[in-house]
Symmetry: C2
Subunit: 229 residues, 2 copies
Amino acid sequence: METGLPKFDSAFSIDCVIFGFEAGELKVLLIERNEDPFKDWWALPGNLVENDESIETAATRILYELTGLRDMHMEQFHTFGEIHRHPLGRVITVAYYALIRIIGQKEVKPVTQYAKKAFWHAINDLPKLAFDHSLIFDTSIQKLRRRLSYQPIAFELLPEKFTLTQLQLLYEAILSKKLDKRNFRKKMLSYGFLKELDEKQKGVSYRAAKLYKFDRRKYNKIFQNDLEG
Amino acid sequence: METGLPKFDSAFSIDCVIFGFEAGELKVLLIERNEDPFKDWWALPGNLVENDESIETAATRILYELTGLRDMHMEQFHTFGEIHRHPLGRVITVAYYALIRIIGQKEVKPVTQYAKKAFWHAINDLPKLAFDHSLIFDTSIQKLRRRLSYQPIAFELLPEKFTLTQLQLLYEAILSKKLDKRNFRKKMLSYGFLKELDEKQKGVSYRAAKLYKFDRRKYNKIFQNDLEG
DNA sequence: ACAAAAGTGTTGCACGTACACCCATGT
DNA sequence: ACATGGGTGTACGTGCAACACTTTTGT
């Protein structure tokens, strides 16, 4: 392809912050790198963008290569372009976050060589990550918190059927603060997009809780004006 | 510079949505292009990123080249990476917005060749712009509106001393809806970061309004917890 | 005197917040 | 029976929305 444009001597990548929720904890998917630089370090999954794919497509592809999942809610949140953020040369990276259901997906295996393995790590005691990935992660969690306050993104992290307590624990994990049980329930139910099921939790040694599911149709009906920003 | 990284066959640019406020209208700075593609079309000011500058630096430089202004509030808001967004080849662009005081700056002259001229255009009847710049602009205005609701960015667009009516007109222009005068004043004053001056408007043929200024010190004191997201 | 915009309060409603006890179930 | 989390209501304060008239000033 002859472009007529000046060549830009750099590479261009996508990094993904993939959130999951398990055992009452918010987790993020990390890989162990198999290549220099930062060989053996932990890092966010990411990869270079190909010439024949848009950045959205690249983000989707990279997520797929690492998790086998498609059609996730992915959201671009920031582009990092410091000159020396990559020790080998200029690499500008667009960061995305995604929310996925860990349930039934606990074994996450990279299909690419650049990672030895992929694994979930609780967000509360993350080690230092390769490159500027700690900064990228910190930025992502701030965006996630802000978005949680005006978009029903939490449901992407839960199993399809969930209890209100599970939902509350998830909110608490994301916001890292305790919420009041009665107020939380009142508010969630008042939105009108939770569908109460004729079903209860199973296998617990105490009173079983009702299960709910998120009703996207109702949500869209209620908030049809509330466009993306 | 030998990077050891695969070469990415593309260019990388910054586009700026520069907002100003004049005569009760919100305006955006456009250029008339002097080069193909889209020669003679109107476009957002933008330019390629150099290899030895970060994207923040590039954004600041490009704004300077077009307006002579420095130290503006610039905010990255989205990266556009569709394959065919540039007809001559792959160009990924990071979009920023900036807010500036038009007052005393009405003559904006590009110092680069790629634009014939730069000029302010009211946002309400924008023509079709080059590339995907109409999309970039639409995205920027949505981000601007959202940000206005939790950050005091409006003051960047006004002269240092302003009346409450001017402030209200600006909010109305950004949100494109009418606001109630009494409620607006009550709310603004209740924040406590507006400093009332011992000075009044001059040169008007009606009752002169009090002048105020934005007190950033007070703002920081009041909202020290409200960190950037 | 008139035109034009400045300036000013109250009320009702919706929403967030604080707060404690009984209930159902499994062991 | 007991341990464990499930489930529920009220009262208060804050903030937002609706609403119209008098005051000041320049011409």
